[in-house]
């Protein structure tokens, strides 16, 4: 029966660095994925590796101990998942944000660029100065995908928009450096930007704070970060990773689990711009209406520059 199945299901979640409470990606998995699963009575083994070797060791051990499915959160876990999947062909694996073409792996990716497109459009709608900013953690493909969509979105509203782009740095510290985030934000605001999209994990805190201090706006990423500086965080481009994880585990329990690539986008709200009590005032109904229109266009493939937008993810 289903209840038995739930009882006997032991799944494992392997988080990305820095940790599961990063107010961002990992936390989304925890709050909207792991917590409901636990509530359901499913055993969830959580694992936060400290270095790549540990990731691999841990995932192999999880596989050996019979956890199923084993869910790797974030591209950093991909090499280890691939190795484990090869060695344990009868165990189900899931990888988020990366594609592994193996018969026992589900690869889950998101159309971040579409969300970023909406964020860009919103930023352009909000911007009085005709300047918007983007702060990325490291200059890696994933972040380029964000920035690409964001710029296109903004240009769709205001073709002459000025675009400022900064990256935090070349080491893992880039995701964890609010001081630098603040400095970058100050630079962009001082140069006239009035909305900044921060795709840099914990570094974003510095960006939000600066937005608040300068009475400007910032846009959060991955999780709903609206509450971090209410009134300054215009919206957050949320990626409902947690829900995806939850749904996929449900499918697994129901015996409907299928390997292969899964792609989630705006349709179904897997990627969205968050609107709640913290930002309802600034992210007004009018704006919300416009963004919803745009969203519908993307979903229905009616966007004039859809070709260019597609290239954002192809290019990478």
């Amino acid at each position: 029966t289903v209840a038995d199945k739930v009882q006997s299901t032991r799944i494992a979640v392997v988080y990305d660095r820095p940790n599961k409470f990063d107010h961002s990606f990992n936390q989304a998995v925890y709050e909207n994925g792991v917590v409901p699963l636990l509530a359901q009575g499913i055993q969830v083994k959580e694992f936060e590796p400290a270095n790549p070797a540990q990731t691999e060791q841990g995932i192999l051990k999880l596989a050996r101990r019979g956890y199923q499915p084993i869910i790797g959160i974030g591209y950093a876990t991909a090499p280890a998942i691939r190795k484990a999947a090869l060695r344990f062909p009868n165990t189900a694996f899931m990888i988020v944000d990366s594609i592994i073409e193996l018969p026992n792996v589900q690869s889950i990716t998101f159309d971040e660029d579409h969300g970023a497109y909406l964020a860009g459009a919103l930023a352009a709608l909000m911007s009085k100065s005709g300047k918007i900013g983007f702060i990325g953690g490291m200059d890696i493909p994933l972040i380029s995908k964000f920035s690409c969509g964001y710029l296109l979105g903004a240009q769709s509203i205001n073709p002459k928009i000025t675009y400022l782009e900064n990256f935090v740095g070349p080491t893992l510290n880039a995701w964890n450096d609010p001081t630098k985030g603040r400095e970058l934000a100050i630079y962009q605001y001082e140069n006239g930007a009035d909305v900044i999209f921060s795709a840099a994990g914990g570094t974003g805190l510095g960006v939000f704070q600066t937005a608040k201090d300068h009475n400007k706006f910032a846009i959060g990423v991955d999780s709903n970060q609206n509450s971090l500086q209410p009134g300054a965080v215009l919206t957050s481009m949320v990626k409902r990773v947690g829900r995806v994880v939850f749904e996929h585990v449900q499918a697994f329990i129901a015996g409907e689990w299928q390997a292969g690539p899964y792609r989630y986008g705006l349709a179904g709200g897997w990627i969205d711009l968050a609107r709640d009590q913290h930002n309802q005032v600034i992210y007004s109904d009018r704006l919300h209406g416009e963004i919803s229109n745009l969203k519908a266009k993307i979903i229905n493939n009616q966007l004039p520059d859809i070709v260019r937008l597609r290239q954002c993810s192809v290019e990478q």
């Binding site: 400290a50 051990k61 090499p79 080491t171 990478q316």
Partner: protein, 369 residues
Amino acid sequence: MSKAIPWWFNSLLLPLANVGLAFVACAIVLWLMGIDVLFATHVMIDGALGSGEGVGYTLYYATNFIFAGLAVALAWQAGLFNIGAEGQALIGGLGISIVCLYWVPLPMILLFPLTILVSALFGALWAFIPGWLNAYRGSHIVITTIMFNLIASSLIVYLLVGPLKESGQMAAVSTTFPQQTWLPSIENMASYFGVTLQSSPLNISFIWALLCCLGTYFYLWHTRVGFETRVVGLNLQGAKFAGIAQRRIIIITMLLSGALAGFIGLNEVQGSSHQLQVEFVSGYGFTGIAIALMGRNHPLGILIASLLFGALYQGGAELAFNIDSVGNDVIILIQALVVLFCGALELMLKPSLINLFRFNSPKTEAGNA
């Protein structure tokens, strides 16, 4: 009357007592956090040493520490504080990746020496510039090596999002190397001889690390250049009197130190992950400083300290894996306590132990500054 201090006091009893003290401190911390100390101890020890896999991982981590520790210690012997093992290792790994990605058709018996050579060359190159600047321009090695760490990191990111990028990847990693370039793991080597071992990333570079220990010892204490290196490190006046070409020694030492650091890439890149990742060094270079100094800058000491730390890493990983309330911060805390008690406070117990055994001791010398 009291007895003279026997040899085993300083080289066995005291270190063991320090390790013991460190574990007591760790136990107290765990207990304060409401963790079952006995169970935790069991998990750690069993995890690090209780299974073939555990031992494999312990030795695998130890390999990195040996290379890093030797690199730091060698430079230290010449009075150079090389904080740059981190960057030198990165560049060494880069060299290996280039060989493995573009130079495949070689049998392992040739490829391994080649990658050893290339990682040494690349690591040495990265240490050469700070070394040269120190020797000829007087630039302080601490600053230049810190800067070169950061530069190395940027360089690797640049290459990994550009020329070496694997298509379709969201992360900054290179393409996985072809399988024939992977270093043979100890597991595979053993199975060749009919012995089955549990799987772990432990590979042949561990043996190379042991050889490096031996080589470093021999170099420092039995060759002329090694002797000159130590004199330069101890006393510049003395070095001048002895007619030692100080600049030459500085450069040679930094080259060797960088080469040793570069070998970390053998274990990590060619031996374990089989692809170049941005952060594959993940702090080994810095931990190497502690390893080197805890091992008193002596290869044997470094070997022991590396094994201790390898066990700590692996045991810690097991602990974090098996006990949910133990996170990585707890593991770092345990490591910190070990560094503190076995390294920084290594002499704390000495007076009381001397008293305990009623050994004849020189009283503390207030004056000998």
